[in-house]
């Protein structure tokens, strides 16, 4: 059974692996940090949150200060889907944001069965916008 854990990640209970829900790529061991199987980009926050006020003239511009915060963008190495973001202080180690008790997850879903799997999540065709 494969349990959807986030919009783009699932855990294959049999293989005990994190997988990409978009391209089925096997990412990392389920008991570990899924981020270790992803690619990371250190994004200047001004590229996402553009300055609304002229940065040449003003100290505050509506953009985050790139010396104070960066955006860590984590993507699937196979399909390039952006799985997670983390607004991080420069140099702060990225978080292991989800540490799953895999035996407990197995036991929980053994009781429930596959009919109870949540229907939320993507039916993604890479390269196309989509709806559920």
């Amino acid at each position: 059974m494969k349990i959807p854990m986030t919009e783009y990640l699932r855990i294959d209970l049999d293989k005990e692996k994190w997988e990409c829900r978009v391209c089925d790529h096997e990412i990392a061991p389920a008991e570990g940090n899924y981020k270790e199987g992803l690619l990371v980009h250190n994004r200047d926050p001004r590229e996402i949150h553009p300055p609304i006020l002229d940065p040449e003239r003003y100290r505050f511009t509506f953009s985050p200060d790139p010396e104070w915060v960066r955006i860590l963008e984590f993507c699937c190495p196979n399909c390039g889907t952006q799985v997670e973001t983390e607004y991080a202080i420069p140099g702060h180690p990225p978080l292991q944001d989800m540490q799953v008790d895999v035996p407990a997850l197995k036991a929980q879903w053994a009781r429930r069965g596959p009919d109870m799997l949540p229907d939320a999540g993507p039916a993604v065709v890479p390269g196309r916008g989509h709806g559920h």
């Binding site: 003239r57 973001t85 607004y87 420069p90 140099g91 944001d97 989800m98 949540p118 939320a120 916008g129």
Partner: protein
């Protein structure tokens, strides 16, 4: 050699009683009681409750009575909202509730600020513990108690409660209370939430629970003292009366139930409602996956200076236990007001569940009762008695967001959901607090209800709603600006216009916030302050690949009278911050930007103060956003075409906005490849990125990485242990600036031989 017994003799039982009596008789000061203040669980079931439940436990009867009490609370809430004088009352910053005889909140009004529901039980328990059997105070029929000191319960001392015991045939059966965000409280700055406060003594009126009503009449001598302690004496009186009469209306509804069904039915209903909710919460938690989720939220200021203040959160679920661990969060600031007592944090975390996760549950204290919270002592989320906390909102709101962000990661895989999974809501009170003398000669101090226009986070299947509701009251209103302007000497020249490009992108974008431009008009004694963080670092995180909001500064235009401009050269006026600041259309004016912690500042007629509400966070990968939604955002003025094309990789005709779907598909495929090309594997990335300590160029407070035992205190070389409090003083920002300037003068040899 004979051993000498150096152990002290243990006192006997009689001696212990004597010591206890001596201490009881000679207590010099009844400060906040840790036994009450650190506990948010329900009180144990009493013999009276046991007996009542034995007699009445039929679920239909309980449901019927609960609905009647709920209706009574709603009636009381409506009374306060309609009659209250405080702006807070008018927008619903109010709650009413019925508490058990032991002081637990059993049933709260459906509307209003639910956080109070998790927090007013503390002062009631203080009254029960200390005043009930005190011959100089006592608790009798017809009494009413007032309270606002958050160290004895509740969020901050702008919120005043009126608390009434309810008796039946001489026996206490329950309590009723009404709480309003009154605003003014005589603090060092008007409006009740001073960011300039450097100690509790700067925070104005701090009322531990005391009796202010006897025989259902407000005691005039105490009232006069209270009126003299605040800037709005008439409001103080009016709202004390309003709260009293709302409580009396709820009392009337309770008495109708007592007469029709008897006291056991009431007592049983209150108790079973709480116990059933508590049991249901544990059941729901047990359905979540066993997991630990970590997140952190950054405060980028103390409201006095920019610095980096960490709110660290680890949320662990095991079986039916759920534990919020906030250890590693910033140490408390000894002389800054952004600290919170831990009960305030818990109250706000309760909102995550009651407003956003399980809104179907009866509103009361029980929904958070079984959830555990761990903090460091004397930290920004569990501050000491001596630390100022008038701006506790900064820490309870960022604590809320940490909780909301973490909880979403548990909910996704749950088959049973009660709301949709969503990204964090915007969490800052981007509004103007105001004060001074009005055009009618009245002394006033309060704020614009626009703080309730926080943008909602995007959901699993749709965009977040714009300027929806505050995180602490999902059914509050932003009020009628035109009505407000009849009473205050300023206008909102631009209001409710979305701030373009202040976005939180994602597959589903966050709901945006609107621009506010205010200018004083008919008073020479009027000013503003703003109290929000997030001008340098966003105060929220995105979800599942979505982005957080950007940043929100304060802009000022001084040395101009825009009312003259509007009268004589109206074509010069612009309706966005972007145009006014970038085009600088008013000659000779001074255009400046600032962080959102502006201390109270007197304004001149026609000078512009401009801010924006914030956006809720985005959800999911931007490349999955429906191109039609992107173009709709452009058409609605939420985003400029250039930003839309660059972020979302949608290709459209710049004139007609017609979408080229094939070109869009290709652009997005290219961007996915580009992502892979510019990113690096995690193991390689952390080698270059991870640093052992916080950067030297930032004043950083809190733990670094996973080591929650060491808390940094403003520099990489200054730390404390999490469990060992140390003072944490900040230098006055003006002294910092003077020192900088003096150093420059000295370097230039321009100090003029001034003696040191």
């Amino acid at each position: 050699m004979n051993k000498i017994d150096t152990r002290a003799k243990m006192p006997s039982f009689e001696e212990m009683n004597l010591i206890k009596k001596f201490l009881d008789d000679t207590t010099l000061f009844l400060g906040p009681d840790p036994e009450i203040m650190q506990n948010h669980d329900l009180m144990p079931r009493t013999a009276q409750e046991d007996e009542a439940i034995t007699r009445v436990s039929d679920s239909h009867i309980v449901a019927k009575i609960r609905d009647r009490i709920q209706a009574g609370c709603d009636e009381g809430y409506e009374m306060v909202e309609q009659m209250g004088a405080a702006p807070g009352a008018k927008w619903g910053d109010v709650i009413t509730g019925v508490y058990s005889a032991s002081g637990d909140l059993a049933i709260a009004s459906a509307g209003g600020v639910l956080i109070f529901s998790a927090l007013v039980h503390h002062p009631i328990k203080f009254i029960i513990k200390n005043w009930m059997n005190d011959p100089t105070v006592g608790v009798k029929e017809g009494d009413g108690f007032i309270h606002n000191d958050s160290r004895y319960g509740n969020v901050h001392n702008t919120d005043q409660s009126m608390i009434l015991p309810i008796f039946h045939k001489g026996k206490l059966v329950c309590w009723v209370a009404s709480t309003v965000h009154e605003g003014e409280n005589g603090a060092i700055e008007p409006g009740g939430m001073p960011s300039m406060a450097e100690s509790p003594s700067d925070e104005g009126l701090k009322m531990s629970p005391f009796k202010v009503v006897e025989n259902y009449q407000i005691k005039r001598d105490i009232l006069t003292f209270l009126q003299n302690s605040v800037r709005e004496p008439k409001l103080q009186y009016e709202d004390m009366k309003v709260k009293l009469f709302a409580c009396l209306r709820i009392k009337q509804r309770i008495e109708e139930t007592l007469n029709s069904d008897g006291p056991e039915a009431l007592v049983s209903t209150l108790r079973l409602t709480m116990e059933n909710v508590r049991a249901e919460v544990k059941r729901r938690v047990s359905e979540w996956p066993d997991m630990t989720v970590k997140t952190y939220i950054i405060q980028d200021s103390t409201l006095r200076e920019n610095c980096v203040v960490k709110i660290n959160c680890k949320l662990t679920k095991t079986g039916d236990r759920l534990i919020f661990d906030f250890r590693g969060s910033s140490p408390e600031f000894t002389n800054r007001a952004t600290n919170t007592i831990v009960a305030g944090l818990k109250g706000m975390l309760a909102q995550v569940f009651l407003c956003y996760v399980w809104p179907d549950l009866p509103r009361g204290q029980a929904a958070f009762a079984p959830i555990e919270v761990i903090t460091d002592p004397h930290s920004i989320v569990n501050c000491s008695y001596d630390a100022p906390n008038s701006q506790s909102l900064m820490s309870i709101f960022t604590g809320f967001t940490a909780g909301q962000h973490a909880v979403a990661k548990f909910l996704y895989s749950c088959p049973e959901k009660f709301t949709k999974v969503h990204a964090p809501t915007f969490n800052m009170i981007n509004t103007f607090i105001w004060g001074g003398v009005s055009q009618h000669g009245e002394t006033l101090g309060n704020l614009c209800a626009d703080l309730n226009g926080m943008g909602a986070g995007a959901r699993v299947d749709r965009d977040g709603e714009h300027a929806l509701a505050p995180i602490f009251a999902t059914m509050a209103d932003i009020g009628e600006q035109e009505l407000n302007e009849e009473e205050v000497p300023f206008l909102q020249l631009v209001s409710k216009k979305m701030t373009r490009d202040a976005i939180a992108p994602g597959k589903y974008r966050g709901g945006q916030g609107y621009t506010m431009m205010v200018a004083t008009k008919d008073s020479e004694q009027w000013g503003f302050m703003t109290t929000a963080q997030g001008a340098k670092i966003p105060p929220i995180q995105g979800l599942f690949g979505g982005y957080a909001c950007g940043c929100y500064p304060l802009s000022k235009v001084q040395g101009v009278d825009v009312y003259d401009i509007l009268l004589n050269q109206p074509e010069k006026f612009r309706h966005s911050i972007e145009e006014i600041m970038n085009e600088q259309p008013f000659e000779g004016a001074r255009y400046t930007t600032h962080h959102m912690g502006m201390g109270f500042e007197i304004s001149k007629r026609g000078e512009l103060f401009m801010i924006s509400q914030g956006a809720g966070a985005g959800y999911g990968d931007v490349l999955e956003r429906d191109p039609v939604g992107v173009v709709r955002d452009i058409e609605e003025g939420l985003m400029s075409p250039e930003v839309a094309a660059r972020l979302y990789k949608v290709v459209f005709d710049p004139v007609t906005l017609a979408i080229d779907f094939d070109a869009t598909e290709k652009a997005r495929a290219d961007e996915r490849k580009a992502r892979i090309a510019r990113s690096v594997p995690y193991s390689e990335f952390v080698k270059g990125w991870n640093k052992p300590k916080p950067p030297t160029h930032l004043q950083y407070f809190g733990c670094w990485g996973d080591d929650v035992d060491t808390l940094y205190m403003g520099s990489p070389d200054r730390t404390r242990r999490g469990d060992e409090p140390r003072p944490n003083y900040m230098t006055h920002p003006k002294d910092v600036r003077i020192a900088e300037l003096e150093q420059r003068l000295m370097a230039l040899g321009a100090m003029g031989g001034e003696k040191q």
